[in-house]
Amino acid sequence: MESRFRLLFLVIFAFGFSGCAATKNLFGFGEEETPPPAEIPEGQVIEPEVERREIKEPEIDSEDFELGAFIGVMSIEDFGSGVVYGARLAYHVTEGFFVEGSVGQSEGGLTSFEILSGGAPLLSNSERTLTYYNLNVGYNILPGEGFIGKGRAYNTALYISAGLGSTRFAGDDRFTVNFGAGYRFLLNDSIALHVDFRDHLFDIDLLGEEKTAHNLEGSLGVTWFF
């Protein structure tokens, strides 16, 4: 019961305090102060107010999103390497920064222990499937151009990204930190090729004591800007 009272007091405090500071703003229901209309001085040509008017002319196609798929190799610590594949969606916030989300899946093999002992497997087949999602922030650290031959130039960028996510492996969801770098090569203004290297770190206690597993991933991808 005590905790409910504490919660109640916290709520009263929170809303009460905000009320004291700006009572008229509480819930925004107070009177709104409308500033007196500014007098336009004689001879002013441009009105300072920007009129927001819907127009029928074609809108400009804004291409800040990047969606694509990737395939590569992922090394799962103690469980060998397997093919990894997945999808990626990025949003370019500025010419430098982007945010991205990825999902991927790979398959772990047998540990050395399982092979050498010949005993019962540690994991069932479904538990060997590794799936992950992550949410990253990235930065185009070295934007530039790549030249093929004398007459062709392609826009490129070396980028770094890092973020958080979750990995499902060996029967549990595991909090996962990932970081890496990649190279984006734009074939034209809408299609890009990616080479990406990434380390996924999560804690695992399957083989006795808990340790941080490094799971390296290298992939090739194709993305489409829209």
Partner: protein
């Protein structure tokens, strides 16, 4: 005295809206519309009002200027990427021009152009918000996704879904809360929040004892929303949870999170 007409062009970054509803719908609809627009040659044309317009080889500050368009000539705007516009010059050259230069061009009617850009005012008045936060939930890691709708600049309703990843148990929470921003027009805007929901916990597979549980939760908290750039918000918050367990005592959990969000 002639009054100059300023037009604001809305770019299709509004498709963020649609994207959140369904990425695939956007993907499927965007392609045909772009194709139609290109087929019909329906590009917006503007004329250069400054002595010249600089065209870069790529959409970024570092890319070299390879072409200039003289005053009075007109260019077609093919597309936009972040703050860069891809344009086609009268001689067919295609390159990228930054927003500052594009805003000094004129429409074919002679009126000025302002390219719609989210700013701090939109940060205060935007209706919808979507974001991700991560942090600590009573010693466990938590990753959260939320969507918010503003009833007015001060009060908004938010729906949260979180994944909890701990050493001994995993789980998820779903909650609905009301937030109140006392000074929504500040760049760093503090808020208070109050809400309720459910928490589901399941012990890790390596721990034998324990069973899955679903309990009701209530929470109160406070935090900051910070306007970063364009449609981007940084957010940090603290919440105090009470878990109404079926046992004799209720549990209390403290949560700290930081993350980012978009408004639209």
């Amino acid at each position: 005295m002639s009054e100059r007409n300023i037009t604001t062009i809305l770019s299709t970054s509004r498709s963020i809206n649609a994207l959140i509803i369904a990425v695939l719908v956007v993907v499927l609809t965007q392609a045909p519309t772009t194709a139609i627009a290109q087929a019909a040659g329906e590009y917006r044309t503007v004329s250069v009002a400054e002595p010249y317009l600089e065209m870069h080889t790529g959409p970024g500050r570092g890319y070299p200027v390879f072409h200039v368009v003289d005053r009075g000539d007109s260019v077609e705007i093919l597309m936009r990427r972040t703050d860069w516009f891809q344009v086609r010059a009268p001689d067919g050259a295609v390159g990228w021009v930054d927003r500052a230069q594009m805003e000094r061009t004129l429409q074919t009617t002679g009126s000025e152009i302002v390219f719609a850009e989210a700013d701090q005012e939109d940060f205060t008045n935007a209706k919808w918000e979507l974001g991700v936060l991560a942090g600590d939930f009573g010693g466990a890691n938590i990753i959260s996704l939320y969507g918010g709708y503003s009833l007015n600049p001060n009060v908004s309703i938010e729906v949260w879904g979180s994944q909890i990843l701990g050493n001994f148990s995993n789980g998820w929470t779903g909650s609905v809360n009301l937030t109140h921003e006392t000074w929504p027009d500040w760049r760093i805007s503090p808020f208070f929040t109050l809400g309720t929901g459910v928490i589901h916990t399941e012990p890790k597979s390596t721990i034998i004892q324990g069973e899955d549980r679903t309990d009701q939760i209530a929470h109160a908290g406070a935090g900051f929303r910070v306007y970063a750039t364009r449609r981007f918000i940084l957010r940090a918050e603290y919440k105090s949870y009470v878990v109404f367990t079926s046992r004799d005592d209720n549990e209390e959990v403290e949560e700290w999170k930081v993350g980012f969000a978009f408004f639209f």
